[in-house]
Symmetry: none
Subunit: 401 residues, 2 copies
C-alpha cells in the first residue's frame, strides 16, 4: 500500500508506538529439531508480551530474499524495500554519518591493487589496515575537480566513501567500475542515461587524479567505485505516519537509515540499558520510538549461538523498564534473521510480537519462531507491521466509506 | 492480479457460485481469551460447511487497514480496493440508488450552520431532523445553473447528495469545501487539474445559489461539499469473471456497489429468509449470486455482542435452504470485521469458508476466527477469494502453457 494513501488515513492522533529492534533476531536450530537462539534464550518478559499480545512472522523484503540492514529497517519503518531502494553509496555514507545533502552523489569506494599491466590483482588491496588506509584516504580527499567539490572519508580497512557535490544537478545512474574478479582491467564509469553523463565524466576525472596520487605504490595503488547514488526524495516518516519519531542506536548505520526517513536519531552507548534512558528521556516529546539493539546480529554473524542467546537475554532484561515508560503499542522484532549456524544474514522470516489493544487471542504463549508461526497474524510482509501497529494505536482512519 | 488477466482465464463455463456476505462478520472476544461473536454463536450449518470445506482469514484492503463498506465489498467481488477506489460522492449516490450516468459528478453534501461572520459554527447543522431537512433539499433541487443540470436528493438528517450533469465532459478532481473544524470559513471548491476547472466553477456557482436559497435561516443556512467524484469506467464483473451475476440486498448501499460492477441487483425485505427466495427465484438464469445480510454489522456498530451473536445465528439458520438451491461453490465471509467491543469497523482479518470441490482437508471443524486461522488458506487478501471460488467452480483456465 502506497505511503501517500497511508498518509491520508493517519490523522496524527492516537497512542505512542515503540519499535524495539533486536538486530538479526531470527535464527535456526543448532541441531535438527532443536531450539533456535531465540527459543533457547530465557526471555520471560518477551514471553509475557507475546502471551498477552499477538504474534506472527514477517518477510522484510519477500519470501526467499535475504535482506541487508538498510532494506530490513526500511521495511520495519513501513517503507516497502522493493519500492524504496537505497543505493549502496548512500548507505555507506549514512553508515559513517556523513551529512549528505540534496544533490550530493555518494560512492562506495575501496582501495585495490593493480598489477604492472594495469589489471586488478587484488580487488581489496589486501584489506590494508586502517592505519595505512586513513592517510591514503586523506591524500585522495585533497583531489580538486572542475565542476564539483569532492570529499573522501575513510570507513574501515580498504573501504572509503567518495561524495561528489556537483555544481549543476547531475544524475546518479553510473555503472560500477569494479570488474568483479582479478585479472581484468578496471571498468570506466559509464552513464546509463543522459542526465548522468556529467557524473560519469566527473568520476572518470577523479579516478585519473586518484591514480596519480597513488602512483608508485605496489599495493593500494588504485580505487574501485560502486553503488553511485544520491539521497532519495522520499516521503518523510513524520509526514506519512503523523508521528514525531525518535531513534536511538549505538551504531551509525542505523541512525543513518532512521535519519534518511526523517527520524530524529541520537547516539546511545552500546548495550541494552542505555536504550531505556533514551526512551524515557524523550518519551513526552515524541510519538514513535525506534530502539536498535545490535548484539544478536553480531553474535549471529560470528557464528556464536551461545553469545546470540545471551544477547537476546540481555535484550529481554530491559523489557519491564521499556513497558514502564508507558508506550501504548509495543512491536518487537528483527530487521532480518541472522542464524548463527550460517554466520550471515538469511532469508528466513522474522518473528514479531505486537502488544497493544484490541486484539484477538492467539496460540503464541512464548516468543519464538515456532510459536510465532501459530500467531494471530500468520505470515505478513515487513512493511505491513507499521500499519498493524498504527491500527492498534488508534492512528488510522477507515479506508473508504 | 489484474482483472484483464483474470478475464483471459475465465472462459464462461463451470459451476454456479454463491457469495453469502454476513456484513461485519469478524469480531473480537468480549473478555480476554473468550470467544468472538461468531465463536459464541451456535452455527451448526456453517460449522458443517467449514468442516467439509476449507477456511482462512482475509484482509479486505491490507493488514492494519480498516475497510469501509464500499472497499470491503469490492474486494469480495474480486476488485482490489487499492486499485479500484470509489469516491465518497459516488458511494453516497449509490446508497440512495440514484441512477448515476456516465459523466455525472456526485458530491456528498450536508447542511451546515454559518455564524454571523460567515464562519462555520456547526459542520452538521445540529443534525437537523429529516422532516426539516427534506424540504430544504427540495429547495436546493430547484437550483438551475448554466452549463449543467443539477439534482439534489436528501439522504438522512443533515446529509444530501448533489449530482451535476455537465453539458460538456468535466473532471472530478475538486477539493472538499469542508474546513474540517468550526470557526473557519468554508473553503472554495478548488480544481486539482485543468480538466476539473469547469466542475469547480459549477460547484462555486451552485454554492452561491444555495446560500441565497438558505438565506435568513439561523441554522442549516449553508452546505458543505465533499468527495466530488464520478462513476468510474471499471471492467464489468460479468465481463471479467464470465458469470451472469445477481445480487440481493435489503439496503441500497450494497445494491449500489453491486450495480457499480455490473451485477443485476434486486431489493429484498430485511432478514435472512428472503435471501433464500431471492436465490431460488433467479437460480436458473444466473451463474453468480451475491446475498447480503446486514444485521451482524448493525449489532456490532451498536456495541451489542449478544445481538450480533443472534444475527449470526439467524444467518446460519437459512444455510440448508441455500445449499438446497444447488450452488456448486459456496463462499461465506464478511466485508470487514465489526467487533462489538469496538462499536465500529476494524482492521482485524475476516474469517471465510469456501465449500466446493476439490479441496485439501484442513483443521477448521467449526466456523470462527480461531478455527479459520488453522484453515487451509491461511491469510489471504480479500480480492483473492473470487479467484479461489472461480477455481473451485472450474471456471479458470491454466495460466500459461
Amino acid at each position: 500500500m502506497e505511503l501517500n494513501r497511508i498518509a491520508r488515513l493517519a490523522g496524527g492522533g492516537g497512542g505512542k508506538v515503540l519499535l524495539y529492534v533486536l538486530d538479526g533476531l531470527g535464527g535456526l536450530p543448532r541441531e535438527p529439531g532443536g531450539p533456535t537462539e531465540l527459543e533457547a534464550a530465557r526471555t520471560p518478559h518477551l514471553d509475557e508480551l507475546a502471551r498477552a499480545g499477538t504474534c506472527g512472522l514477517h518477510d522484510p523484503v519477500a519470501p526467499g530474499i535475504t535482506p541487508g540492514s538498510g532494506p530490513g529497517h526500511l521495511a520495519l519503518f513501513g517503507y516497502d524495500p522493493l519500492v524504496y531502494e537505497t543505493g549502496r553509496g548512500v548507505l555507506e555514507a549514512l553508515g559513517i554519518e556523513f551529512p549528505l545533502g540534496p544533490g550530493d552523489i555518494a560512492v562506495r569506494a575501496n582501495f585495490c591493487t593493480l598489477d604492472a599491466r594495469g589489471r586488478v590483482a587484488d580487488r581489496r588491496a589486501g584489506r590494508i589496515p586502517c592505519a595505512e588506509a586513513a592517510p591514503l584516504a586523506a591524500r585522495l580527499n585533497a583531489i580538486e575537480l572542475d565542476g564539483a567539490r569532492c570529499t573522501v572519508r575513510h570507513v574501515k580497512e580498504h573501504r572509503f566513501v567518495l561524495v561528489l557535490h556537483p555544481e549543476a544537478p547531475a544524475g546518479d545512474a553510473v555503472n560500477d567500475t569494479d570488474p568483479g574478479r582479478p585479472g581484468l582491467p578496471i571498468r570506466a564509469p559509464v552513464a546509463r542515461n543522459a542526465a548522468s553523463e556529467p557524473t560519469a565524466r566527473l568520476l572518470a576525472a577523479w579516478l585519473e587524479a586518484a591514480a596519480e596520487r597513488l602512483a608508485g605504490r605496489t599495493q593500494a595503488n588504485m580505487a574501485l567505485l560502486r553503488g553511485v547514488s544520491s539521497q532519495p526524495g522520499w516521503p518523510r516518516f513524520p509526514d506519512v505516519f503523523g508521528m514525531r519519531a525518535a531513534a536511538a542506536a549505538a551504531y551509525p548505520m542505523y541512525r543513518g537509515v532512521a535519519r534518511l526517513v526523517g527520524m530524529d536519531a541520537r547516539t546511545v552507548p552500546a548495550g541494552a540499558p542505555p536504550l531505556v534512558d533514551a526512551l524515557k528521556a524523550r518519551f513526552a516529546d515524541y510519538d514513535f520510538f525506534f530502539l536498535h539493539f545490535k548484539p544478536p546480529d553480531k553474535a549471529g554473524e560470528d557464528g556464536d549461538f551461545d553469545r546470540k542467546v545471551a544477547a537476546i537475554e540481555e535484550a529481554d532484561a530491559i523489557v519491564p523498564d521499556l513497558v514502564d515508560a508507558g508506550p501504548d503499542v509495543i512491536l518487537v522484532t528483527g530487521d532480518h534473521s541472522t542464524p548463527s549456524v550460517m554466520s550471515s544474514h538469511s532469508w528466513h522470516p522474522v518473528p514479531f510480537l505486537l502488544h497493544g489493544p484490541p486484539a484477538r487471542s492467539d496460540d503464541a504463549t512464548t516468543f519464538g519462531e515456532t510459536a510465532c508461526r501459530a500467531g494471530a497474524h500468520g505470515r505478513v510482509r515487513g512493511c505491513d507491521l507499521m500499519r498493524l501497529a498504527m491500527a492498534s494505536a488508534g492512528r488510522l482512519a477507515k479506508f473508504g466509506a
